[in-house]
Symmetry: C2
Subunit: 361 residues, 2 copies
């Protein structure tokens, strides 16, 4: 019964105003203030205007900690990614942030650093900050620590282009099939038969999917991969791209699908240009997406386009909708990819011509 600041106490303008201050200022009770703040209909117009006036007069800001404590909702969503630095992830994050912002949700980010330990740490950090939901691009779908952590979570989980059957949650997936099919068709029509692939490791869905689509598309045409390089998340440096390309070229490949992280793709291009191999003349290259890199290069880069905007929007809205309808069944949404032909793919050249081209440099 000892309301300390309920009435009176005209001392400190130091502390931020609370609904009690609003109540005193507008001459109603704090319940009425609360009702106005939450848009409750059962409140007289006069009371409402009074409270609203007090609200702007005192520059009232809701105390989110108090509200969260009471309602058990923080309006915070956590995003875990290998890193936020690379354009694919940062673009996704930007769209997610924008979409969530629209409904008053803020985005909490945490990088796993590309390791499973970092991932668990990131998840727990976000959890300890009270995130209502988690959006995750895992580094490894099989890591037991991550899976266990995810299973022990009460909040909703959404996987971004990842598939962990043991974890309940919605998923937004990228289907590389069309893009890869069109790529192979395109390359084969240009005479290529020795085609190489760089992609993620098979412990994440994108790696598995791309690999299998690639192999299937080749098989349909009686071909086999010239080379395949599967990447770990730990080493997504351009150095890896460089050495991978070195290996691939030894296989005699005349075309490369560089469908890994952008830093690796940069390494591929790096190796090619710095070794005097010009595309499409000496080798054909297909990369992911339309980036600053791919548009600034002289031969525009033929690319498999991932519908990034749609991908992230779907994810955001899935998360949002589940807040209202928490018991809906698990949903899996898939977005397609497609090939955009530019100038880094061309007719295959004979070995002799390639050698000559190299010497000319």
């Amino acid at each position: 019964m000892s309301k300390s600041r309920d009435v009176g106490d005209h001392s400190g303008p130091q502390r931020p105003p609370t609904i009690i201050d609003l109540a005193r200022e507008s001459g109603v009770s704090k319940s009425t203030v609360s009702r106005v703040l939450n848009g409750n209909l059962n409140v007289s117009e006069s009371a409402r205007t009074l409270v609203l006036a007090a609200m702007i007069k005192l520059d009232y800001q809701m105390n989110s900690a108090a509200r969260s404590l009471r309602t058990e909702r923080s309006h915070l969503v956590g995003l875990v990614m290998p890193g936020i630095k690379h354009v694919f992830y940062s673009s996704t994050a930007e769209v997610l942030e924008r979409e969530l912002q629209k409904v008053g949700i803020s985005l909490l980010i945490a990088s796993s650093g590309g390791t499973a330990e970092g991932e668990v740490l990131a998840i727990n950090s976000l959890r300890s900050h009270g995130a209502d939901a988690f959006i995750l691009s895992l580094v490894n779908e099989n890591d037991a620590r991550t899976v266990v952590t995810l299973q022990s979570i009460r909040q909703q989980v959404l996987l971004l282009d990842r598939d962990v059957p043991k974890v309940v949650g919605d998923k937004v997936l990228i289907d590389p099939r069309r893009g890869v099919n069109e790529s192979i068709e395109h390359l084969v029509s240009l005479g290529h038969t020795k085609i190489a692939l760089i992609t993620h490791g098979t412990f994440v869905r994108p790696g598995r999917e791309v690999k299998s689509c690639f192999e299937e598309a080749l098989a349909q045409r009686g071909l086999t991969p010239a080379a395949e390089v599967l990447l770990e998340f730990e080493d997504v440096s351009s150095q890896i791209g460089w050495t991978a390309t070195e290996v691939i070229l030894k296989s005699g490949a005349t075309a490369i699908l560089a469908l890994g992280p952008s830093s690796v793709t940069a390494g591929v291009l790096n190796y090619l240009t710095w070794n005097g191999l010009r595309f499409p003349d000496d080798i054909s290259v297909i990369v992911y997406d339309e980036t600053e890199l791919s548009s600034a290069m002289k031969p525009g880069l033929t690319a498999i386009i991932r519908p990034l905007e749609e991908y992230a929007c779907l994810a955001a809205n899935l998360v949002i909708s589940r807040f209202s309808d928490s018991e809906a069944e698990q949903r899996v949404l898939t977005v397609p990819t497609q090939l955009m032909v530019r100038d880094s793919t061309g007719r295959v050249k004979s070995k002799a011509k390639i050698s000559r081209a190299k010497q000319l440099q």
Copy 2:
């Protein structure tokens, strides 16, 4: 006096365990539990081990809302940037996140979208989510709405490479002087006298600083700018870079300092390569930083390097340190830039040679 769940109530394992559950489980009072959780020294070893055991047994997770309500600290820091998509911002965010994570602080992100209105919205959104501090790269240092909003904030404010005298807060600034000086010196030594600049508008510090350093460096050598293009944050597209380059070339410039957003720089390179202008043969180009773009391009791009890691680390640690010592005087930290000469800068060619080069393409 009606403790509902203080004792007994073995009903629901549904709700997450609280310190009361820990207290019951370990046979001590919740005060002692709280002490253990906060590392308070005044607690017996026996009690501590008891509580710790209960903690892992029940998989206890601190309720951050309750703690925040009580301590008035959320351990959340808000980051406001024009957008998170571009590599400079996303890299900064990544480093900030990593450094803050080390001391248990999570990063809340909000994009302003490059507009002043969006900026105010972003700040208020973060504020409503209880951020303890704000790290900001403003879009416009002069916008009254933003300034007023910032002034009305109780939390600490840190400006990233921005300078708003009317706002109290620490600052971490990038000093372009050395990098720009070295660039001009380098270019002049190669015979260039007509040098153009692309940078931010003068309503943000980077724009002002780069512009004045550029002009001073030229003046010291008896030169004047061949052209200057100042950018708005609203239009940081590669299209702008393209048209800007078109304009600049008409001025007869033989060298371009492209020191704006990376998308604009991409547009510059785009224009040059697609119009058959090769660097350094036809024109010299200096860009910002070492990016995937600049390392993958064939002539490696000469660049002014900003110490991004240091920049973000300083910012993070400034924020962290001010939490302990909130009344310290305002601090302004500055990080230097420097030129890294690669291959996109070379001896100036005569007009005739440039024309010939263009025709050869």
